[in-house]
C-alpha cells in the first residue's frame, strides 16, 4: 500500500466528531515537534524541554486557536441574534457558584461538577457544568421579587402572558470528559422557556433549537424525539435502584437488560418492547397499540411535535430509547443530529416548575463547520501625518473591509492602499 493509501485509510476511519487539530488528550498533543525545528540547540544536540513546559494545559482542556475560535465567535453572534429576534433575553451568570445551586440535587451533575473551597468564606463552590440550574435560580429569584404576574423583572413586555424566555452563552467545565476524546470545557449556548405548557412549549423550544442552529450555519439536520414521561410513568412503582438500572438499560435499547433489571415488575415487558421502537408515524402507532391509557397523551404530544418538525421536508423521527442527557427530563425530549454528531439536545423538565430548554456545544459545532473564505485584507502603509491618508483609512474602516497596517517598507501585494496623484486609493489588483 502506498503512503497515500495508508493515509486515506486512516482518514476514512476518522470519525467526524473527533477534533483533528487539537487532540484533547493531554499526552497526545505534548509530543515535541521532532520533525520540525524546536527545542533548544546545544552544539550538535537538540534538547527538548520537559513535556509540561511544551504543553502547560491540563488533560482534556485545550485552546481554541484561530480560525476555530473565530468560527465559534461568528456562530455565537449569529445564534444569539436569532434568539434575540425571537424574544429570548440574555442571562449571564457567574462561572463559579455555591455547589448546591449548580447541581440542584442532580447526582450526575454533582459528579460532573468541579468543586473547590472558597478561600473568602470557606464554603464549597463549584464551576458550572450546565447553565440550566443557574437559569432556574435566576427565574425563581426574579419571580419571588416581582410576583407571578407575568413580569419577571426583566425590563420589557415580552412576557406579559407569564412566559419567560432566557438564553445564555458561556463556558461550562466538567470534572470528567464526557468521552475519552472530548474536551472538558464546552462553550454552551442555549435557551429555556418557563411558563409555556405542553405541547406548545416543546414545539417553540425545538423550533428555536433548529432555527438557531440553521442561523449559526449548521445544515443537514435531523431530529430524534422521545418522551421521558412515558418511561418515568412505567417505572414509577419500581424501587429507586431498580428504576435507575431499568432506565439505563432502556436508553441503551437493551430489551433483555430491561427485562432482567425489572425482574418481576409488570411494566418491564412494556418497557422492553418500547425501547426498540424507532421510526416515523408508524412507530407511534405501534407504541399506541400496547401502551396503557395514561401514556396516550404523551404519544399525542410526540405525534404533534413530529408533525410540526417534519413540515417543509424536515427529517423528524421518534426513537423511544433516545432519552439521554442529564436525566432530569420529565416530558418530550429531542436530539438534533447534524452530520455525524449531536448538535443540540433538549426537552421538558420539572424542577419545581415545568420548563423547556435546549443546549448546544458551540465548540463542537465550530469544529464541524467548513472554513469560511475571507476576503484579503487591504494593506495600509503607515502615513499618519498625511491628512488624506487619515481620511482614506477612516473610509476603509467605515466600509467594513478588513485592513492590515504595514509596519515595514516591504511592498505588499494587492489589495493595498496606495498614494496616487489624486490621493490615497485602494489598488485592487
Amino acid at each position: 500500500m502506498t503512503r497515500r493509501g495508508t493515509l486515506a485509510a486512516t482518514d476514512a476511519l476518522h470519525p467526524p466528531g473527533v477534533c483533528r487539530t487539537q487532540m484533547p488528550m493531554g499526552k497526545a498533543n505534548t509530543d515535541p515537534p521532532r520533525g520540525a525545528a524546536g527545542g533548544i540547540v546545544c552544539g550538535n544536540i537538540r534538547i527538548f524541554p520537559p513535556l509540561f513546559l511544551m504543553n502547560p494545559l491540563p488533560g482534556h482542556l485545550g485552546d481554541m486557536a484561530p480560525p476555530l475560535a473565530e468560527r465559534a465567535e461568528r456562530c455565537r453572534r449569529r445564534a444569539l441574534d436569532w434568539l434575540f429576534a425571537h424574544s429570548y433575553r440574555l442571562f449571564a451568570p457567574p462561572l463559579a457558584e455555591h455547589l448546591q445551586a449548580l447541581t440542584a440535587g442532580d447526582k450526575t451533575l454533582d459528579v460532573d461538577t468541579f468543586k473547590m473551597t472558597d478561600t473568602l468564606s470557606g464554603e464549597t463552590l463549584g464551576l458550572r457544568a450546565d447553565h440550566t440550574p443557574q437559569v432556574l435560580r435566576f427565574d425563581r429569584a426574579a419571580r419571588a421579587e416581582n410576583g407571578n404576574d407575568g413580569n419577571d423583572g426583566v425590563d420589557n413586555d415580552d412576557n406579559r402572558d407569564g412566559v419567560r424566555r432566557y438564553c445564555y452563552c458561556g463556558s461550562v467545565i466538567r470534572a470528567h470528559p464526557p468521552q475519552p476524546w472530548k474536551f472538558r470545557e464546552e462553550i454552551q449556548i442555549g435557551a429555556e422557556i418557563f411558563g409555556a405548557p405542553a405541547p406548545g412549549g416543546e414545539m417553540e423550544i425545538a423550533r428555536a433549537a433548529r432555527g438557531m442552529l440553521a442561523a449559526a450555519g449548521v445544515g443537514d439536520l435531523c431530529v430524534s424525539l422521545a418522551h421521558a414521561g412515558i418511561v418515568r410513568a412505567l417505572a414509577a412503582e419500581m424501587p429507586e435502584e431498580t428504576r435507575d438500572e431499568v432506565l439505563r438499560r432502556f436508553s441503551l435499547r437493551d430489551a433483555d437488560g430491561v427485562l432482567a433489571a425489572a425482574a418481576d415488575d409488570g411494566n418491564g415487558k412494556t418497557l422492553a418492547k418500547l425501547c426498540g421502537i424507532a421510526g416515523g408515524e408508524e412507530s407511534l402507532a405501534e407504541a399506541r397499540a400496547f401502551l396503557p391509557p395514561e401514556c396516550q397523551p404523551a404519544l399525542d404530544e410526540l405525534a404533534f411535535l413530529r408533525r410540526e418538525l417534519a413540515r417543509e421536508g424536515g427529517d423528524a423521527e421518534v426513537d423511544f430509547s433516545d432519552i439521554g442527557g442529564y436525566g432530569y427530563h420529565t416530558g418530550a425530549v429531542f436530539v438534533f443530529y447534524a452530520g455525524g454528531y449531536v448538535a443540540a439536545r433538549g426537552g421538558r423538565y420539572d424542577r419545581g416548575e415545568s420548563a423547556v430548554g435546549f443546549s448546544v456545544n458551540l465548540r463542537e459545532i465550530a469544529e464541524h463547520l467548513p472554513p469560511e473564505t475571507r476576503a484579503a485584507a487591504v494593506a495600509c502603509p503607515l502615513a499618519p501625518d498625511d491628512e488624506q491618508w487619515q481620511q482614506a483609512v477612516a473610509d476603509l474602516e467605515k466600509s467594513g473591509r478588513r485592513l492590515r497596517f504595514v509596519h515595514n517598507s516591504e511592498e505588499s501585494p494587492p489589495p493595498r492602499l496606495q498614494k496616487t496623484k489624486t490621493g490615497w486609493r485602494i489598488q485592487e489588483s
Partner: protein
Amino acid sequence: MITIAVAKGRIWNEALPLLAELGLAPDNDANTNTGEESRRLILPTANPGVRLILTRAQDTPVFVACGAAQMGIAGGDILEEKQTADICQPLDLQIAKCRMVLAAPRGRENPAAGRPLAVATKYVNTARKWFAKKGAAANFIKLGGNMEIAPLAGLADAIVDLADTGKTLRDNGLEEKEKIADISAKLILNRVAARRQRKTLAQLQQRIAEAIAQRNRA
C-alpha cells in the same frame, strides 16, 4: 459504507461464522495477499458496502461511540465495566458465552477473616457494584490479566474474572465461589448512526437476529 468493529480473540473467532452466514466474511484475498497471516486491522468483506475493523476487546465500544465504526461486536463484560455513552446495545448475539465469577483459593471458606476482602480484578466497576449490592466490604486491586496469580502470590484474597469451563481456575488452585453475571457478546450501534442510517442498520440488525434465531432452532 458501514464499518463494523469486532473485538479480537474469542469474540472474533466466534463472530466469523455468523458474519459469513450474512455474507460479511472478511475478503481472504485482500487479507492474505502474501500467503502469510495478515496483520491488517481494516478488512474488506464480500459486501463492498461493509468492512470490518479489528479492535482490542476493551476498545470496541470506544471505536463505535466515537463514530469510527457504526456497528460493533463487543463483550458484555466490557460494556458493563465501561458503560460507554453514545452507543446502544440492541441485540445479544449469544456467542462468546462465559460467566463472570468470584473465585478464591480452593477450600478457603473465609479468606479475609474479619477484614474487607482484597479482590484482584480487571472489572473494578462491575465488582464494586456487585459487592455494594450485597452489602459486603471489599477493596479492589486492578490488574490487567492473569488474575489467578494474585491469590497465590498473596496479593489478593479473591478474584473477579471471566470463567468458561473453569479449567484455568482449577489448574491454579482456585474455585468458583459465586456467579456474578452471565456474559456474552452484544451487537452495539453508534447512537448517531442508529438515527442517520436507521434503515440500513435496522435491516442488518434484523438479519443478524434472524441468523441467531435460526442457530437456536437448529
